[in-house]
């Protein structure tokens, strides 16, 4: 099954946490989250997978976004099974976690703000630094967040998927969006 995850920019967490530089906000559960990844195969073949399972939490001075991987879907059942069982091994590693220093996140009232922030991604049992781009827009109490990052799946010990002569490239783009409310 061809699935190749290279996570590059995850911004959603950053946007949620950084409601302001000075106040210590708390965030509600993510609303209508969508996490998607795009992997590329040979000759322009593109695989997109999505999951709505994203959680946001604060752990000390860091914002942590967790994505459960066992409900990732690409539209083809056999491919999903290979992706989750053979490559991501969700039985052992059920979630991906992105951790960002809250102080690095800036969200203010008014027009959308965005930036690139350093983050730490834990995937398939390995932790690596990644650079995340986020965009966030605060409207009243609600914050709309979107962002993404790129990842090379082999950096996380994930074998490069190959199936019947079709091999997926190891680089994967991940994007996410959701809404939350902050206090």
């Amino acid at each position: 099954m061809e699935f190749r995850s290279r996570i590059s920019r995850v911004t959603v967490i950053a946007a949620v946490l950084a409601t302001s530089a000075t106040s210590r906000a708390t965030f509600s559960k993510a609303i209508e989250p969508v996490v998607s990844f795009t992997a590329v195969g040979p000759a322009g073949m593109k695989i997109q997978g999505t999951t709505p399972e994203l959680d946001v939490a604060e752990e000390g001075d860091r914002v942590v976004i967790s994505v459960r991987l066992d409900h990732l879907q690409t539209g083809i059942g056999l491919r999903d099974r290979h992706m989750k069982e053979k490559y991501l091994e969700v039985g052992q590693f059920p979630s991906a976690r992105l951790s960002i220093q809250r102080s690095a996140l800036k969200i203010g009232d008014g027009p959308s703000s965005g930036a690139d922030v350093p983050a730490t991604l834990t995937l398939h049992g390995k932790t690596r630094p990644v650079s995340v781009h986020y965009d966030a827009k605060k409207s009243g109490a609600e914050i709309s967040v979107s962002g993404g990052f790129s990842v090379k799946m082999t950096d996380f010990g994930i074998a490069v998927p190959s199936y019947l002569g079709v091999t997926v490239k190891p680089d994967v783009d991940v994007t996410a969006r959701f809404r939350t409310t902050g206090t």
Binding site: G44, K46, I47, Q48, I76, L78, L164
Partner: protein
């Protein structure tokens, strides 16, 4: 002027009424696979623009996604997905196959008796071999009627045919860039299996027998899929006066895995057009799109402008267009509605048609198809109605 009217009538009659009776079908191409996120053809097909031998991956997808499943959803492609229903195992670099398609046709034209016939629409073997980056591919078949432009023998019927045969070189490692030379299906528009659709017939870009010899360069990378071909002529046609020279090509952009938009262009010149018998500068330019809002539905559309400049015989400017909706309520069963229109140019009214089609991929390597086609065909003396029923039984190796 009188000669022009004669030519126009002949063209309208041949293209509008007789082609469905003469045509034999070619290998399969299913652009509706965009419903599964497949915007490109190469993962499944040896031909970068679709049709032709299936790759191992393509055979697996055919078994997993195309045919009816009875009982549990497939965990893996069945062993019958392989060549000859799994009886033969080949290396991935050797792609062999074959097609048999039998059609039962009934056509009723206004003012004429119903014509019934059975046609062996296709009986071809084909192969595609990869050695390092070099490719060699070809097909060989038998056509009891039709496919004269692909005939290797010289009879009016019962001919050996070779629709494709070419040598190629994969410029990059994964074959995203491929250069080919030989007899190749013209890159233009949507590579439909319904080769008698007017967008295919009027542009002469079907998979049946309008292949040409030439050199083609294709690319399938990221969001782009494209192929351009220098047409050197159909060397299975004699004499040389009938051979067209020019170019044909398309470019397609897929901004998402469920939407693809493209443009096509073709220009040829023949000293004697095979149908019109005069020097013909022929061109066709058009747009096409494929879209799938969800797995249930795939929509295909194409519109082409066609222009023929006939030396000393005026010109014919026309168009052909089609829209097809493919509904797959249960895996393996397709209900399709296709609307089409055309105008051949000259003093001919426009033609309109609607197809109601049902296809059932009932078993590994096998499908059955029923088409009901209602057409009102423009002729110099007015529109003529035609009703066609076509039942097809198809199996591939």
């Amino acid at each position: 002027m009188k000669t022009k009217r004669v030519i126009t009538r002949a063209a309208a009659l041949v293209l509008g009424l007789l082609l469905p009776l003469l045509a034999a079908s070619r290998a399969d191409a299913y652009p509706f696979m965009i419903r599964h996120g497949y915007t490109g053809c190469m993962p499944c097909h040896a031909d970068p623009s679709g049709s032709g031998p299936l790759t191992s991956y393509g055979r697996a997808q055919s078994d997993l996604l195309l045919r009816s499943r009875y009982g549990e959803a497939a965990e893996e492609p069945g062993p019958s997905s392989g060549l000859l229903w799994g009886a033969v195992t080949l290396p991935d670099d050797v792609r062999l196959g074959g097609d048999v398609r039998e059609g039962f046709l009934a056509t009723k034209v206004d003012g004429a008796a119903t014509q019934k016939s059975s046609i062996l629409m296709r009986a071809d073997l084909y192969a595609d071999v990869l050695w390092w980056r070099f490719r060699a591919a070809g097909s060989l078949g038998y056509a009891p009627v039709g496919a004269l432009n692909a005939a290797l023998t010289r009879g009016q019927s019962d001919n050996l045919v070779s629709r494709d045969h070419w040598l190629g070189y994969q410029i990059d490692e994964d074959g995203s860039w491929l250069v080919r030379a030989g007899r190749i299906t013209l890159p233009f528009g949507i590579r439909d299996i319904e080769h008698t659709l007017w967008v295919r017939a009027l542009t002469r870009t079907d998979m049946n027998d309008t292949q040409q010899d030439g050199v083609a360069l294709s690319v399938s990378k990221d969001q782009i899929r494209a192929e351009v071909m220098a047409i050197l002529g159909n060397y299975q046609l004699r004499p040389d006066d009938f051979r067209e020279r020019g170019y044909s090509g398309y470019g397609e952009w897929a901004p998402s895995t469920h939407l693809a938009i493209g443009v096509s262009s073709l220009f040829t010149r023949a000293r004697r057009d095979i149908y019109l018998g005069v020097t013909d500068y022929r061109q066709a330019h058009g747009v096409f799109a494929r879209y799938s809002p969800g797995p249930l539905l795939a929509v295909l559309a194409e519109a082409d402008w066609v222009y023929q400049s006939l030396t000393y015989h005026g010109h014919l400017g026309g168009y052909a267009a089609m829209v097809q909706a493919d509904l797959e309520p249960i895996q393996g069963i397709h209900w399709m509605v296709t609307g089409e229109a055309k105008n051949d140019g000259g003093d001919v009214a426009s033609s309109f048609g609607v197809w109601f089609s049902a296809v059932w991929f009932l078993a590994p390597h096998a499908d059955v198809r029923l088409d009901e086609i209602y057409q009102t065909i423009g002729t110099p003396s007015g529109n003529v109605g035609a009703l066609t029923a076509l039942l097809q039984l198809h199996a591939f190796l």
